[in-house]
Amino acid sequence: MLIVEHFPVLLIVISMLAAFTILIAGWRNKKTSFFISFATILVQFVMSIFILRHVMTVGTIYYWLGGWAPPWGIEYVVDALNAYVLVILLFLSLICVTYSKRSIEHELPDKIVSFYALFQLLVTGLCGVTVTGDIFNMYVFVEIFSLAAYALIASRGKIALKASFTYLVLGALGACFFLLGIGFLYSVTGTLNMHDLSILLPPLYGNRVVQAAFVFFTVGLCVKMALFPVHTWLPDAHSFAPSEISAMLSGIIIEVSTYAFIRVCFSVYSLEFITEYVPIFDFLCLVAGLGIIIGSVLAIAQYNLKRMLAYSSVSQMGYIMLAVGLSVSTHHALWGGLTPALMHILNHALMKGCLFLVAGAFIYKAELWNISDLQGLAKKMPYTCAAFTLAAISMIGVPPSVGFVSKVYIILACLDAGGWKIIFVAVLLLSTLLNLVYFWRVIEMMYMKRGEGEEGHSHSSSPVKVDDIPLSMLIPVLTLAILCIIVGIVWLMEIPVIGSFPILDRVNELFGLGVYAP
């Protein structure tokens, strides 16, 4: 067995051990906690790249915990889908942990140790959900990352406690539904292994219990991923959490729930079940479409920058779920199947990660929470504002940014699906305009509005001193911003060349979607 085939479990083990090490080492010296966390995530990130390479060159990795064969023991399965999500997840974590060093020292000076311990647990949970091939194990990891997230959101105290509590109640509710679903399936099949379930379930598809279980999974995970009607926990949680946690929440945590949903739909159940027994995907499209519009409209109404971004996340989750919803009715080699959805998961992680980190930078520098506070800030913090602008125009979808690519692919998927789904083209274009309204407002405020006492023409090369955030925060922010453009160009250049970007293709092949549809 190659060492790389042990990586899935090592990812979880070192991450969890690191969480406890941080706690113990932090007892003696607070400063160590950042370095332990950073080193661990770096190692995990490297591992995830090796996993991705292995999956693409050799094939799916199966790891049996303790050597127990699958139906009895817990199995970790890593195929193209998990490997892809894993890399995004660990990349964003790496960015956020780098960023957090200075910002946490500034914001939560007496909670550094617990912050990093929890952060590490959060990463553990997210990795766990991603690598596991056992549905109960998945539930456990969902709870681990959720609990870590509740605590992290509450770490500012005061109003954040309320935000955290709302999330706790709704998140627990969602987890309950998820657990109920697992229970139902266990009661009819007697197994928890996903692959085993997928073999045992097909004869039972007509069974009401199996169908109810699917609905429970859907509802539970929709709460976790803050899809429109059940998004109510998200705005508070995103706006009051420390910014690196907001970036994680919006950039990857809700996407990991989407991953879980995709996994349940296609690995536990199958295309046949979704299209014939519980045809829920058309309904999902509609809900997602509503979410796209309403999220954007609510974002326009916000005056708090992070809150605005949070509502924008609601809208963006709509994009992802719309793409997931369309996946069963598209057949094109490039934009059929899950490709647009998976593309947008990466793209959204880059864009929204960057935007939240920038919002955090404003708070770090001068407690600037509201959009109106940002007046004329571009002169004082040119690099941060430039990063914001790049990410914001990506969100609007100006070519050749990542947002543009996502938008085009989702629109092409809508056209490919045909029928009444063509209305989503209009929805997406309208949403672009709404994005334009709320992001342009911020850009105008930063660059064009004059600060106070600056009236009239000031020629004497204005004396505003550049006072940007420290380098350890600036580098992560700029990295994400530049990637928003570079990845966009890579998508445009690489995807059409068949075989040059096979990960997404492999996912479709795995689930029999897109061109591989029967």
Binding site: L334, I393, I396, V398, P399, P400, K407, V408, I411, L412, L415, V425, L429, T432, L433, L436, V437, W440, E444, Y447, M448, K449, R450, H457, S458, H459, S461, L492, M493, P496, V497
Partner: protein, 496 residues
């Protein structure tokens, strides 16, 4: 024949590299402006170097990568694209010189930002000219919109910010429609390449779909300022005058018109357009805009606003010519693109020179201005004559062809529209000339005015464009414009 060449890439890189040096040398104004000039001249030379190849009947291609199956992201330059590239890059040199005089004359703030985004706007405009398909055009079209926003809102006064916001709201909304048009075209035809005579597969789509697609495409080109989607243009006059001059007489609005011509002649094709009866639709919109915009221009007292409405009206001449769907009409339209650019930029530069020299923006304040600023007002007169279609200024030539086009279409109504509109041009331009030369200034003794001509940096460009406006009438083949237009029209095929 298709020639693979990197010269389009080099041409498009000039403004990019120029902008980088402008940003780096922001602290040294002389060096900064040197770089702008250098980039402009270099780009113009590279563009001109492509003329012989194109005149030889070739198409120059440069492909970056394949973005979708059958859709390359790349350039493909034909005669029509080259015309637009020539005027954009040639006028960039003149406007750069003019900007130096204007920005220094008014001691404007944030000049580095101004020159930086100016480069990017040219990048967008030349990209639109070079684009080989709708997708590439869309990308540069959006870059053009975004990069001109800081120029429009340059003053950063509430008024300028409002103008900027309106500008972006209109043009990015239109960008959405453009994107929809690109994707739908791709969906129906399987490609978005500009093809002489139209994309053959497109005709297979249903009539209703094609009509809807045409409506969406038109909405996608609000940059052409056709009514009722014109109101961003007069508002955008809050921009510094060189911006209005280059961007709102040449780059931005012409990109819109250019796009519509591309869609009509190279996506739909003349035959399909007349089959679907879409020519009439476009012609009606254009005729309406021509007349109404001219009437609105009469009511404006602010010189730049009046010029803005005149632009709206003149842009529709181009749409009008294309909508006639016959060789003469299309030829007139294609000629009007460069000719109008030269004339309108002269007028705008004169307006800017008046602002710098005297601070006057309203026509009613300009009494007797021709006596103290003879060169400026003479150039203005030439531009105004040309706009009204009076020889020996080049507006005459393009209007002549447009008139021939209406006759060829056997449509006297169209001819009447053209004539009425030309008459209205005279109505709103001649009072300005009269006021400037023949009215006596109020409250000032003759000859004691302290107003002088603007600086040489501004005077030379505006005199040059005025002279060029005349040269184009006497020798329409200057810069091979006439040859290129003939070549472009000859290639259209179909009923043409």
């Amino acid at each position: 024949m298709i020639v693979e060449s990197i010269s389009p890439l080099l041409a498009i890189l000039c403004p990019v590299i120029g902008s980088i040096f402008v940003a780096l040398f922001g602290k040294w104004p002389n060096l900064r402006e040197c770089w702008t000039m250098l980039a402009a001249i270099l780009q113009c030379l590279i563009v001109f170097s492509m003329v012989p190849t194109i005149l030889g009947g070739n198409i120059i291609k440069y492909t970056f990568f394949t973005a979708f199956p059958n859709v390359d992201f790349g350039f493909s330059i034909d005669a029509f694209g080259l015309i637009f590239a020539i005027i954009a890059s040639f006028l960039w040199i003149l406007v750069s010189s003019y900007s130096i005089g204007y920005m220094r004359g008014l001691n404007e703030h944030a000049q580095t930002r101004y020159y930086f985004f100016f480069c990017w706007a040219i990048f967008g405009a030349v990209g639109v000219a070079f684009a080989g398909n709708l997708l590439t055009m869309f990308v540069f079209y959006e870059i053009l919109t975004v990069s001109t926003y800081p120029l429009v809102a340059h003053d950063q006064t509430p008024e300028a910010l409002f103008a900027g916001r309106k500008y972006v709201a209109y043009l990015l909304t239109s960008g959405c429609f453009f994107l929809a048009a690109v994707i739908l075209t791709y969906h129906f035809a399987g490609t978005t390449d500009f093809t002489n005579g139209g994309i053959p597969n497109l005709a297979e789509a249903s009539r209703g779909a094609l009509m809807a697609l045409f409506a969406i495409s038109l909405l996608g080109f609000m940059k052409a300022a056709w009514m009722p989607f014109h109101s961003w243009l007069p508002t955008a006059m809050a921009a510094p005058t060189p911006v209005s001059a280059l961007l709102h007489a040449v780059a931005v609005v012409k990109a819109g018109v250019f796009g519509i011509v591309r869609v009509v002649c190279y996506i739909y094709g003349i035959d399909l357009m007349s089959d679907l009866g879409l020519g009439i639709v476009l012609a009606s919109i254009a005729a309406f805009t021509m007349i109404v915009a001219s009437l609105m221009a009469i009511a404006q007292d602010n010189l730049k606003k009046r010029l803005a409405y005149s632009t709206i009206s003149q842009l529709s001449y181009i749409l009008f010519g294309v909508a006639l769907l016959n060789p003469m009409g299309v030829e007139g339209a294609m000629l009007h693109i460069p000719f109008h650019a030269f004339m309108k930029i002269t007028l705008f530069m004169c307006a800017g020179a008046i602002i710098v020299a005297s601070g006057k923006t309203n026509i009613s304040e300009m009494k007797g201005l021709g006596r103290v600023m003879p060169v400026t007002m003479a150039a203005f007169t030439i531009g105004a004559l040309g706009m009204s279609g009076i020889p020996p200024v080049c507006g005459f030539i393009s209007k002549w062809y447009l008139a021939l086009g209406t006759l060829e279409a056997h449509s006297l109504v169209m001819l009447a529209v053209l004539m009425i509109s030309s008459l209205l041009d005279i109505v709103y331009f001649f009072p300005i000339i009269y006021t400037a030369f023949f009215d006596t200034p109020e409250g000032e003794e003759f000859g004691k005015s302290r107003i002088k001509e603007a600086s040489i940096f501004m005077l030379v460009p505006l005199a040059m464009t005025a002279i060029f406006s005349i040269i184009f009438c006497l020798f329409p083949n200057t810069f091979h414009i006439m040859d290129l237009v003939k070549l472009a029209v000859a290639g259209l095929g179909g009923g043409v």
